[in-house]
Amino acid sequence: MSRRRTERLVNLLLCLLSTRRYLTAAQIAAIVPGYEHDENDPKSHEAFQRMFERDKGELRDLGVPLETGTNSVFDSEPGYRVTRGDYALPEVHLDPEEAAAVGIAARLWHHAELSNAASSGLTKLRAGGVDLADGPPLGIEPVVSADPALTPMLAAIDVRRAVKFGYRTPRDDQPRQRRLQPWGVVSWRGRWYVIGHDLDRNATRCFRLSRVVGTVSAVGPLGAYAPPEGLDLVAQVAAFDPEPTDQKSARVRVRVGAAAGLRRWADAVRPEEEETPELLEADVTGAGAVTLLDDPGAPEAVVPPAAEPDPDADECGEPAPDAKAAWDIVTLSYSDPEALAARLAGYGSAVVVQDPPDVRDAVIRHLTRMAAGIPAPRPGEASTLETRAVGGSR
């Protein structure tokens, strides 16, 4: 935008803000510097009209509430004005703590569009007199990231328009086209999900935004649907979380000093030799990752990660205690014996399963395959893993 155009736009806005009456394009041209032209010359007049249309569009894009109307029923041509009350940001008074919170919030987006929007919003709050510099430091640096699909999804939700997008799950390499009437988005455990009505499946579905492939395009008319009354977005996402219901208990021997992750996850840990076991309550917050699904009826294998890279990847561990010295008995809660068996196999010789027999057998089967270096079973092969994937869903 040229300097002259910027100047003209500021003057146009000030003119429209200062008038109570609607001003026609011709009146505006006569008042605001930069619109001078010969009205009787069709070419010159047309050039003005194009310029004026573009300028109005620019102000509207900025969010200026440009009103169109007539002053009386006798006016044949519409005029324009900006009402001060609609234009101005209402007064905001923030105490230093509140101002600090807003200042930090504006910086926490790791997403280009939202980050820009937050900082221009902040500029307006500052312009309104809010002082952001004086707040006490929070002592925390939060970062929120978001997937590229978030903003187009939100735009569609806002105008209640259906969307079309490619979606790829870990189960399926080929992205599939989905059509959705989106109701809302939820950030849960740092991941973004969209909830809505799946038009092809005719059912409520939840999609993880990081699995959206390519662009999200809006389809069909605006205002095409209404989200359900009193919709609880978080509860909707939680409903798709395959919370294990049927909790069973396994007993495993764990070598002393080994398998710290398993111990943190355990219900109880006690030395094997102890006659009257004193139960040690273990921390259970380290339980494995939960996988959210788009199809509640077709769960992926919800396998807690056996090992996980750690930001603190240092090598200064305790020296391993005498390897064959002693064992603990560890009690674990689980719902899926196959998932538990795979996880236990990850601990190798540090863990020996005692009960139940199905977990024990599955661990032996996993280990036997690995010891022989037998390749992973193909999906076509009859394997308990396949049975699990299918069996869990029907």
């Binding site: 001060r84 807003v102 978080v234 992750g261 380290g286 990660p305 561990g317 893993l385």
Partner: protein, 317 residues
């Protein structure tokens, strides 16, 4: 909003009320608050001098007294309030405040009050934020708040920490440097006296902590940037071993969970997944923990590690 021109127009409209609220504002601060150079700011102010109300006489134009360091607005031409928030601005601020309220270790009261005020000021523009919910989803055990307290008081911490990479728990003394919360999960970046290096500790893996009476001596010339690069907490070192696993459907989740160098579909419904492991022992635990659904393709040392460990484990049955 797009384009440098539009950005400038938006800035000019905010500048006038900004200056109106701050007589004698320092040019350097005004420029900083608007994210521009002092030179650009002076150019903006020159432009405003020629704008004003119809009539455009000396008393109608925006006016200010401008010297070497400060600026005072003397006539605002009815532009004494900033433009209301757009829907995008309201959404970005409101959702960020909600995320902040859900952040472990943050005192939510001030955030909640700020949220209510920003929502009030946004009015109808804040409508789309109603369709966005932010919930932490992680259990807040209060450890983050304790770490924050230690940071405020400048004290060292004794912690019992679970290192997933080694699958081991250890006790160590750390000098906390800052608390980071990435996508709702909290980390403390600290000098680890045992490792003698800056480390990131995941808050949910601190099994016990005790604030020591002795002061924290974190810096030792270290900048608190080591662990958090490019928005990612875990960045594998370029010299860590590259491993390739062949995985079936049931183990495909690792491609979303770990940063992978390559994921390739094979005929027959399996995938070749290549990723950097922190070390081969970690890779062995990962591969074996996937059960029979995964197979080591390379390196050969890893395949041998898996075979020998599986044999040793079988000996107990």
């Amino acid at each position: 909003m797009s384009g440098a021109g539009t950005e400038r127009l938006a800035r000019l409209l905010a500048l006038v009320p900004y200056l109106q609220a701050r007589p004698g504002a320092l040019i350097s601060e005004v420029a900083e608050d608007h994210g521009v150079t002092e030179r650009q700011l002076r150019d903006d102010l020159q432009l405003l001098f020629v704008c004003g109300l119809p009539g455009y006489g000396p008393g109608d134009l925006i006016d200010m007294s401008l010297d070497d360091d400060t600026v005072t607005l003397t006539y605002h031409a009815e532009l004494d309030r900033p433009l209301r928030l757009t829907a995008d601005e309201a959404l970005a601020l409101i959702v960020a405040l909600r995320a902040l309220a859900e952040t472990p270790g943050v005192d939510g009261a001030a955030v909640g009050r700020a949220l209510a005020k920003v929502e009030g000021a946004a009015g109808e523009a804040g409508r789309s934020a109603k369709q966005v919910a932010v919930t932490g989803g992680y259990e807040d055990t209060g450890v983050a708040a304790q770490v924050r307290g230690a940071l405020e008081r400048g004290r060292a911490l004794k912690i019992v920490y679970y290192t997933a990479g080694r699958d081991a728990t250890s006790e160590r003394v750390i000098d906390p440097m800052r608390l980071l919360v990435v996508d709702g999960r909290a980390y403390v970046e600290a000098w680890c006296r045992r490792a003698e290096a800056v480390r990131m500790f995941r808050i949910d893996r601190i099994d016990a902590l005790e604030e020591l009476p002795e002061p924290s001596v974190p810096a030792r010339g270290m900048s608190p940037e080591s662990g958090f690069r490019h928005g990612a907490v875990f960045a594998p070192a370029p010299d860590s071993p590259l491993i390739t696993l062949r995985v079936g459907l049931g183990s495909r989740w690792i491609t979303e969970y770990y940063p992978c160098d390559d994921v390739r579909a094979e005929p027959g419904g399996t995938w070749l997944v290549t990723l950097r492991a922190s070390d081969l022992e970690w890779a062995r635990r990962l591969a074996m923990g996937l059960g029979e659904d995964a197979e080591v393709v390379s390196p050969p040392e890893l395949a041998e590690l898996v075979r020998s460990e599986a044999r040793a484990a079988l000996a107990a049955y």
